[in-house]
Symmetry: C2
Subunit: 354 residues, 2 copies
DNA sequence: AAAGTAATCGATAACTGTATCGAAGATCAA
DNA sequence: TTGATCTTCGATACAGTTATCGATTACTTT
């Protein structure tokens, strides 16, 4: 059986209270006894019982994280960063993957609330605000990741999506593109922000989207991702004023877009330049390495973790805080056409990674 | 404040004990009161306090998972599968990423043990057996994932590495390769098993590795992965009897190998066929899509979860169980040279994924 | 009617640690 | 010396649940 405070107290002829105080650096303990206790604690390799501690303090020293898909490198990176950061402060991290299923996500949130996690971090695939209201009822502090919800004032950490759109579109303009199209995503904050940035970048250069140059990928699960990108890009390429640059909502969509361009017998980036978003780990291993806007997922994780730790300690709820992480552009072959053609070696995976 | 058993008991004029029994489907409760209690529980949305429950039962209904790198799709897939499976049974999963650092891994194991997880799952990056001995001292059941340790009798779930080597090498033989080389990994169970399978497959075809056709990637962190593969393959290609097929320890190494082959002005698979292992998510997005042995990471996760749940309930320790998952070959362009040349479309990402 | 049995529920202790306040002794000032 | 203050430690209550065993009631059997 594991050693308890009682055992140590009995060994040293002290009371449990004294041992408990030593453990928590309580001031009113004599130096001599403090040393004796610490020595014995080390000898017996005492590990405090979190259950008993939680019962009285109300804190569990755990943090919950719900992501739509742990396989997605973006969320995996965030999860990893959070795990590392909170562990340093003695917190452990529950991670669960909702598989993009709102119903499953709600169950997982409920389970984590039942476990009385100190803070809840959610990258939600929800469409309504309802489940967040339930979290608020329980008075558990929570932080939304990646995606925001209008009409919900909550803590938020994610990339600055407007800056994403600005960065990508401005880059295409600088590369000499004049007919820049956008394959946009569904009606969620990330897609809307990127669309807005795209529009603003064009406007800043005295340009405007040509009619039909903003296409949306299908909302059904089957037509999202790469397939949706292929279909959307096919539409664009059949257009009478064919785009010479396409900014895609995310990297999978950009992959589909690139496939459509190559299938149409066109060259990337000479005929059509492509920029995605997410900077996924495969981005520089492709046939044509994909330029992409990096969302700074590691930074998102670190910032979210630090905010979570703050919330865990402040018993008094503060005003919700929104942290926008600045994105940065990672230029690869798919959009590099201003200067000389890229070296052949750049078309292949290179050992030096971003 | 959250509702407690006491509240429900008071509301209905019953004792806490009765409510507790209803919650756990104890037989000696009358049907009428059982329904009344369940109704009230639902009304108040009662959530049991895990801390109090753990304190008395000794079970925490949590499972711990330690992986070397959550960003690696192999481990991400395993983590996801485990998370989904154990959640169904009411368990929550602590996940931590050790960043391939043995010292960090030990800290994380210690933290999870201190939390009294019911079962510990470890994909270890350890070199010694020492830390597992400590787990055994605490009498916490544990399961090793992916990598085994000689001289340590423990529960294990992972791919059948010998079968991996057999499958890959046999495939290359069937594709008409006659000088098959192997880029092997370090001195750990996975690499040794795959090497053994490679040897056996050759022997079964009355063949043997030519001298110098088994090369090892460097053990230092810098020379592992893609860079190590590039260096190892360069050696092989300079050999007087140049290989016409290479089986690589894993996919990153295979990527480096392919880069070396193309840099040498040779064709894949016509001059040299390549097979990797891991079937990483980028495998069919490459310039030359990579044939790879799939390790069945989802199956590993599911089997590990099911074993973990068994261990969580059996208070009496059973004999350690070893579960070997059969791998399967995923043939793509990098090794397909027996019949007609692959269709051009196969050289590009295809929407239909394995 | 007496005794036995089954069904249903509750009183009490226990699990381990923490918060609170009080007690004992030491030290110091007046 | 007295009183006050400080230092160091402990007694007690408590957090929310479950294990155990005893109590009550109703029903059955002989």
């Amino acid at each position: 059986m594991a050693t308890r405070l009682k055992d140590i107290a009995h060994d040293l002829g002290l009371s449990v209270v004294t041992i408990s105080k030593v453990l928590r650096d309580h001031p009113d303990i004599g130096e001599a006894t403090r040393k004796r206790v610490l020595k014995r604690i080390k000898e017996l390799n005492y590990q405090p019982n979190f259950a008993a501690r939680s019962l009285i303090t109300g804190q569990t020293w755990t943090i919950g994280l719900v992501v739509p898909d742990l396989l997605h490198p973006f969320f995996a990176q965030i999860a990893k960063a959070i795990s590392v950061e909170v562990r340093k402060k003695g917190y452990s991290l529950f991670i669960s993957s909702s598989d993009e299923d709102p119903a499953l996500e709600q169950e997982e949130i409920a389970q984590l609330l039942a476990r009385r996690v100190d803070v809840l971090l959610i990258a939600s695939s929800q469409w309504t605000v309802e489940s967040f209201r339930r979290i608020e009822e329980q008075k558990t502090p929570y932080i939304l990741l990646d995606r925001q919800f209008s009409g919900l004032e909550s803590n938020f950490v994610g990339v600055d999506d407007r800056a994403v759109g600005l960065l990508a579109t401005t880059h295409l303009i600088e590369q000499g593109c004049r007919r820049i199209a956008h394959v946009r995503g569904p009606e969620i904050s990330t897609a809307l922000g990127r669309l807005d940035g795209y529009r603003r970048a064009l406007a800043a250069a005295q340009m405007a989207p040509l009619p039909g140059h903003i296409v949306s990928i299908g909302s059904s699960g089957d037509h999202r991702g790469e397939k949706g990108g292929y279909e959307a890009a096919s539409k664009l390429l059949g257009h009478k004023s064919r785009p010479d640059g396409i900014f895609c909502f995310n990297d999978p969509v950009a992959l589909g877009t690139m496939r459509a361009i190559l299938d149409a017998g066109l060259r990337i980036p000479e005929d059509v330049a492509v920029v995605g978003c997410g900077n996924l780990s495969y981005s520089d291993l492709l046939r044509v390495p994909l330029s992409s806007v990096d969302q700074g997922s590691m930074t998102i994780g670190k910032v979210a973790a630090s905010l979570a730790l703050k919330l865990a300690h402040n018993k008094t709820p503060r005003r919700p805080k929104s942290e926008l992480i600045p994105p940065h552009m990672v230029v690869r072959a798919s959009s590099l056409r201003s200067r000389a053609a890229p070296e052949p070696s750049q078309l292949l995976p290179s050992p030096a990674r971003e």
